[in-house]
Amino acid sequence: MQSLGIDVLFKGTNMLRLLKGLWVSVEISLIAVFISILLGLIAGILMTSRNIVVKVFFRGYLEIVRIMPQMVLLFIVYFGTTRVLGINIEAKLAAIIVFVFWGTAEMGDLVRGSIKSIPKIQYESAYSLGMNKFQVYFYIILPQTFRRLTPLSINLVTRMIKTTSLVMMIGIVEVLKVSQQIIEANRRSSPNAAFGIFGVVFLLYFMVCFPISRISAILEKRWT
C-alpha cells in the first residue's frame, strides 16, 4: 500500500505549526463571533423597528452581505483600503472587520426573525398580568428569543469558522496555508502528503466544529 503521507506530520515541528495555524483561524473567528453577536443583537432589535429609514438601511446592508462573496469583501477591505484611503491595516484586522461585517448582518437577521416569531398573545398575556414593558421583555420575550436563537447562531458560528479558510488569500498564515506549506516542502520526499495533511486539517476543523454543533443539539433538545 502506498504511504498516506501522515509521516510528514511528525517531521520537525509540522504538527505544532498546524495547530498554531488552527489557532489563528479559531482566534479570528472567536473575536469576530463575539463582536458579531453583540452587534447582531443590537442590529436585530433595530431591524424590528417600524421606522422606514432604519428598515431600508438594514435591508440594504443585509443584501450587500448576502450577495457579495466574502472573498470580495476581504479584498476590498485589505487591498482596496490601502490604495484608496492610504491606510495600511493589518491582514488579521482586515479579516476580523470583514467577518464582523458579515456576522453582524446574519446575526441581526436571526435576532429579528426570532423576536418576530414570538406570538403577539405572549405579549398580551404578560401585559394582562400587570407586567410593565421591561418585565415583559426581560421575563417573557427575550428568554424565548434566546432559545430560538441558540441553534441558529451556533450554525452561523460554525459557518464563520469554516469560512476563515479564505483569509489565507490576504496572506494570513492559518491552518490551511500552513498545510499547503508543509505539502510543498515535502513534495519530493513524500508526494502523498497532500492526502495525509489535508486529512488532518479536516480532523482539526471537525474537532473545533463538532463540539459546538453538539452543544447546540443538546440545548435544542432541552428547550423544545
Binding site: 398575556s125 394582562s128 398580568l129
Partner: protein, 246 residues
C-alpha cells in the same frame, strides 16, 4: 362601591370600520355577565378595551374607580385588578406550570416566593392539577392549559375576571372541564365577564346576558331564561336560531 366596571359611550374603529358603537355597560360586584353575539361583532375587542390592550377612540372606561387610559402608568395597576384568560393557550412555554403561575405575583406584586407557591399549589388542587405543577405547557392538554391560565389569573386576586372565548380552541371533551372550573368560580361569588359561544353554559352561568351585533349592544337583560326562550329582538332571535337544528 358596587360598580366594578363602568363603560360610558365607548367608541372604537379601525380605519373606516366601526367595531364598537356607543357602548354603555355597568358590571356590579359579584355579577356574572355573559356576552354573546356573532363572530366579528366586537365582543372580544370590547373585552380587550377593558384592560387597555386596545386603545379606544372616545368614551370612558372605569375599572374599580380608575379610568382606563393606555398611556398612563395607572394601567399596570388596573391590569392587576382585571384577570384575563384568552382563547389561544397563552401560557409561557419556557416556564413550568408553577413558574407560569407565580411569575406575576413575585415580580409584579413583589410577594414572597413561599407564600406565592403555597397559594399556587392550593389553586392548582382546586382545578385538579396539583400533580402537574412541574410540567411544561407543551406536556399538557388544551383543557389543562386553560385551567392553568385561569389559576394564573386568579392568584393575582383580581376584582374581575375576563374570559375571551376560552373554550373556542378546545376539543369538545375538554370544554366541559374548563367550563366546570368557571362555574365553580361563579358560585363562589367572583365577578366575571365572559365571551362565549357555549349557549348552554351561558344560560347556566349568567346573571345577565348582553347580546352584541355589529358593534352595538342589541339586547341586554337580567332575565336569562326569557332571553334564550323568547328573545325580544329579531337579531337575537336569528342569532340563537343558528344554534338549533330541526
Amino acid at each position: 362601591m358596587n360598580e366594578l366596571i363602568k363603560v360610558d359611550h365607548l367608541h372604537k374603529s379601525y380605519d373606516q370600520n366601526t367595531v364598537l358603537r356607543d357602548i354603555n355597560l355597568t358590571i356590579n360586584k359579584g355579577e356574572v355577565v355573559v356576552i354573546i353575539g356573532p363572530s366579528g361583532c366586537g365582543k372580544s375587542t370590547f373585552l380587550r378595551c377593558l384592560n387597555g390592550l386596545e386603545t379606544i377612540d372616545s368614551g370612558h372606561i372605569e375599572v374599580c374607580g380608575h379610568e382606563v387610559n393606555t398611556t398612563s402608568k395607572e394601567i399596570y395597576k388596573i391590569r392587576q385588578k382585571v384577570g384575563m384568560v384568552f382563547q389561544s393557550y397563552d401560557l409561557f412555554p419556557h416556564k413550568t406550570v408553577i413558574e407560569n403561575i407565580i411569575l406575576a405575583p413575585l415580580k409584579v406584586q413583589k410577594r414572597n416566593r413561599a407564600d406565592a407557591e403555597k397559594e399556587a399549589i392550593e389553586l392548582l388542587a382546586k382545578v385538579g392539577l396539583s400533580d402537574k405543577k412541574d410540567y411544561y405547557p407543551r406536556q399538557l392538554s388544551g383543557g389543562q392549559k386553560q385551567r392553568v391560565a385561569i389559576v394564573r389569573a386568579l392568584i393575582m386576586h383580581p376584582d374581575v375576571l375576563l374570559f375571551d372565548e376560552v373554550t373556542a380552541a378546545l376539543d369538545p371533551e375538554m370544554v366541559h372541564e374548563v367550563l366546570q372550573t368557571m362555574l365553580e368560580l361563579a358560585k363562589n361569588g367572583s365577578t366575571m365577564l365572559i365571551v362565549t359561544h357555549e349557549m348552554a353554559f351561558a344560560r347556566a352561568v349568567a346573571d345577565r346576558i348582553v347580546f352584541f351585533d355589529k358593534g352595538d349592544i342589541v339586547e341586554e337583560t337580567g332575565d336569562v331564561k326569557a332571553f334564550f326562550d323568547a328573545p325580544k329582538t329579531e337579531r337575537a332571535k336569528n342569532f340563537l336560531k343558528t344554534f338549533t337544528y330541526d
